[in-house]
């Protein structure tokens, strides 16, 4: 408890001791940020500077810019940066501020409450045509025989020049211009058995500069075996169809016949098992027997009368 109190008062005395350092002629000032520089890669520009350190305090920074137009015609006009007025970190993405291919002056100052530092200006104005252009990333895929490329999305300022060729002596190099990255693009239909190679570079119209070409990548599609396998499968399939179609037609015919004209089965008692001639000769004998039986009853009747 006592130790904590001593610690707090030490911190307070230390902070108060710093105040004379920040005072010049009785007026409190903040040191200006130093070592301003711009790093620019693929049209993304970042301004960085050495941070101003005041222990226990959070320093804010303001960034302002001035294009060549302002520096020539209205030098008193400085425009606050879109994203960094104010900002905390000792860096600022000024891509949205640098919108023309002319030299831009940049300046930064630190603020702490009501205290502000002097402006610190970039030593040499920055022109975006000095950006470092790197070879773009690319993804080559085969979609059957189709050669498809997908390029890195570097934003609307970038166009891509894709060079592709068949890897054989005397082959002609083709060039295709792709306006946007991030979307698969069909390059050509490949011939089986031959390798096809691709390389790409970017072009930025705003600064009239190309990047270097990317590493060449080559792909190959399978040659003889694929058509053979296809032929085999096709033959087997054809034979199956040749057998299956008549079979199914016959089956369908039978089904239709049974559904339209069904065959009714006789019960066993009505089934005639003997031959027709025998049946007729049997019947004749029965009739004679019946007739004989009929006469004897008539004679009987006369005898009574």
């Amino acid at each position: 408890m006592v130790l904590e109190e001593i610690e707090t008062s030490l911190i307070m005395w230390f902070s108060y001791a710093l105040i004379p350092c920040l005072l010049v002629d009785g007026v409190a000032v903040l040191p200006a940020p130093q070592n301003l520089s711009v790093q620019s890669t693929n049209m993304k520009h970042v301004l960085t500077w050495g941070p101003v350190i005041v222990p226990g305090e959070i320093i804010h920074y303001s960034v302002e810019y001035q294009g060549e137009y302002e520096s020539l015609y209205m030098s008193h006009i400085w425009i606050p940066s879109s994203w960094c007025s104010p900002t905390q970190g000792p860096e600022c993405d000024i891509t949205d501020d640098i919108t023309a291919t002319v030299p831009y002056s940049l300046r930064v100052r630190a603020t702490l409450g009501s205290l502000t530092s002097a402006w610190s200006t970039l030593k040499h104005p920055f022109n975006r045509n000095a950006t470092i252009l790197t070879p773009p990333g690319m993804e080559i895929t085969k979609d059957g025989f189709h050669l498809v490329i997908k390029l890195e999305d570097l934003g609307p300022q970038f166009e891509f020049f894709v060079a592709y060729w068949k890897r054989e002596p005397g082959a002609k190099e083709h060039v295709k211009m792709v306006r946007h990255g991030g979307i698969p693009v069909h390059l050509e239909t490949m011939e089986p058995g031959a390798a096809h190679c691709v390389k790409v570079r970017t072009f930025v119209k705003a600064i009239g500069r190309h990047s270097a070409f990317s590493q060449t990548e080559c792909v190959k599609v399978q040659g003889e075996t694929l058509p053979l396998a296809l032929a085999l499968f096709s033959f087997v399939g054809f034979m199956l169809i040749l057998v299956a179609v008549p079979l199914s037609v016959w089956k369908m015919g039978r089904l239709l016949r049974h559904s339209c004209c069904p065959v009714v089965m006789l019960p066993d008692t009505l089934k005639i098992t003997n031959s027709p001639q025998k049946l007729i000769s049997c019947r004749r004998e029965e009739v004679e027997a019946c007739v004989a039986a009929g006469l004897s009853s008539e004679e009987l009747l006369r005898a009574w009368i």
Binding site: Y69, D97, V102, F161
Partner: protein, 182 residues
């Protein structure tokens, strides 16, 4: 002897005409993406045009000036109108809103870059100014001078879309082809 002289003169005249025609074909084209500048202007167009109090007057006078410009005069008129905006309009306009100031700065600096590009054409003598081109520029300056400075500046800013569309239409073409060859 006389016949030889005449034929030599005729040949010389033909060569001269052909070279003049070829020079006209080698047009001075600004190779830049106008869409970015048009986008910047679209963001502030309504705010700028709302401040224009003289709706019945036009400074660019497109029917008298821009629509009647021949292909050979495009470079000269573009150069003159860029100078008109850079030297007069942007300077005469006082903008307080930081958002609008950013867009106007973007357009002004882009115009400065376009002037530098055309400067190269001038050095190659591809940017000759005919009487028609000079007259068209004079009409625009006269229109601007007839209004009070602030009103004239705001009106000219409001007509930027007309100028940008005219540049886009007249400066298309050879840039992509020449890039592929390199």
């Amino acid at each position: 002897m006389q016949a030889q002289c005449v034929s030599l003169c005729l040949l010389g005249a033909m060569v001269f005409l052909c070279s003049a025609h070829a020079r006209g074909l080698r047009r001075c084209v600004i190779s830049m993406d106008m869409r970015r500048i048009e986008e910047s202007f679209r963001g502030i167009k309504n705010a700028i045009q709302a401040k224009d109090t003289f709706q019945n007057v036009t400074i660019l006078s497109t029917s008298e000036t821009l629509h009647s410009i021949k292909p050979l005069d495009v470079c000269c008129v573009t150069k003159n109108l860029l100078a008109f905006y850079v030297d007069r309009v942007f300077k005469d306009h006082q903008e307080l809103s930081p958002q609008i100031l950013r867009k106007i700065s973007s357009i002004a600096n882009s115009f400065l870059y376009m002037q530098k590009t055309l400067q190269q054409c001038q050095e190659q003598r591809l940017c000759h100014c005919s009487q028609e081109a000079t007259n068209a520029t004079r009409i625009i300056h006269d229109n601007y001078d007839q209004l009070e400075v602030r009103s004239a500046a705001i009106k000219s800013l409001g007509e930027l879309d007309v100028f940008l569309a005219w540049i886009d239409k007249n400066h298309q073409g050879t840039s992509a082809a020449s890039r592929q060859e390199t």
